[in-house]
């Protein structure tokens, strides 16, 4: 085995049927099959999930934190985008 580090992978777990896969962490693996097995051992040993996705980390493109102002500031004063101006029926408890 060479001393080169294995690539990093991001792990997403679906905790139960019907829910979304959520990012739970990362790990090292040489290939996708190994990444899935490692994810199974690292992130599902306490019954956390029913499905695993792994994505090589360098395939994830992230927004630049220094762009936060232009990306996210403008939405701050647009409270009308939240559906809070409606009278909700009393039966709807979790909006």
């Amino acid at each position: 085995m060479s001393n080169k580090e294995w690539p990093l992978w991001e792990v997403f777990i679906r905790s139960k049927a019907g829910l979304d896969h959520k990012h739970v962490g990362s790990l090292h693996a040489a290939d996708a099959a190994m990444a899935l097995e490692n994810a199974r051992d690292l992130y599902t040993r306490r019954q956390e999930g029913v499905s695993i996705w792994v994505v090589e980390s360098n395939n994830i493109h992230a927004s630049d934190p220094s762009d936060a102002d232009e990306l996210f500031e403008p939405s701050k004063d647009k409270i009308y985008r939240h559906p809070t101006f409606y009278d909700l029926p009393i039966e709807l408890k979790h909006m």
Binding site: M1, S2, W6, L27, H28, A29, A30, D31, A33, M34, E37, N38, D41, L42, R45
Partner: protein
């Protein structure tokens, strides 16, 4: 079939699982990667879990008020009935993977059969354990292929592991006297009948790994009846130390 055979047979299965689990636990802190360490520890825990269920049942069959802990911690080398394959030192990662490959391919088929045992307790333990062994078989097959068909160095070491562990595989397929009686009663698995299919599966994995199947050779045996290599004594000395030094210690 007697209760005594059932006790010895259940102990043989329990000891084999416990020793296997202990060997895998020895990788903690030493595995080539953190991820591998977790995987081996998890598999070790699967074995400890199997061992616990089996020891509990053995204690019940024996009916002398011994507990699972008594059976695991207070018996000596000649009382242990684990197969020799499981007590061999881990060697390098390739050797450990070779042992896991031989063992998990065997145990997957074994538990599939044991599910049909006329003993409902053994059948229930088998049903739970077979899924674990399916995963272990997959894990060790993939690593065998990866290392065998990997670099020059990994290929050499994987082939060596496959060769070194080979003479200890035969024992898995030779029933001990206590086992023979139970096979006829439909309690124990007819291990000899699993040999051809097991060899075929090993061959398939080795082919894909571009490794050589070891040649037929004389096979070591004795573990099932308490004749062990020198390695088991050291393993037990470490595993049983606490209960020997501080009898009855709990936490």
């Amino acid at each position: 079939m007697t209760n005594e055979s059932l006790f010895h047979y259940t102990l043989h299965l329990a000891d084999t699982a416990l020793v296997m689990g202990h060997r895998l636990s020895e990788w903690i802190g030493h595995a080539p990667q953190l991820e591998i360490e977790m995987a081996l520890a998890n598999q070790g825990l699967d074995f400890i879990g199997q061992a616990r269920s089996l020891y509990q049942y053995a204690a019940e069959v024996e009916g002398k008020a011994r507990t699972e802990d008594d059976l695991a911690y207070l018996r000596d080398v000649w009382d242990f009935k684990n197969t020799l394959l499981t007590e061999l030192p881990n060697g390098d990662f390739g050797a450990t993977i070779a042992r896991n490959l031989y063992y998990s391919l065997f145990m997957e088929a074994f538990f599939q059969q044991l599910q049909k045992s006329t003993d409902s307790q053994l059948a229930a333990i088998a049903e739970k354990s077979v899924k674990e062994m399916t995963y272990h078989a997959r894990y060790s097959s993939e690593w065998t292929i990866r290392l065998g068909d990997g670099t020059e160095e990994s290929r050499i070491r994987m082939q060596k592991g496959i060769e070194d562990m080979w003479p200890f595989t035969g024992e898995m397929f030779v029933p001990a006297a206590y086992e023979q009686a139970l096979i006829q009663a439909g309690v124990a698995v007819d291990v000899a009948a699993l040999h051809a299919a097991w060899k075929q599966r090993v061959q398939e994995v080795l082919d894909e790994a571009t490794l050589e199947m070891p040649a037929d050779c004389w096979m070591q045996e004795g573990g099932k009846t308490g004749r062990h290599s020198e390695h088991l004594g050291f393993l037990l000395a470490e595993m049983q130390f606490l209960q020997r030094a501080y009898p009855g210690a709990t936490w």
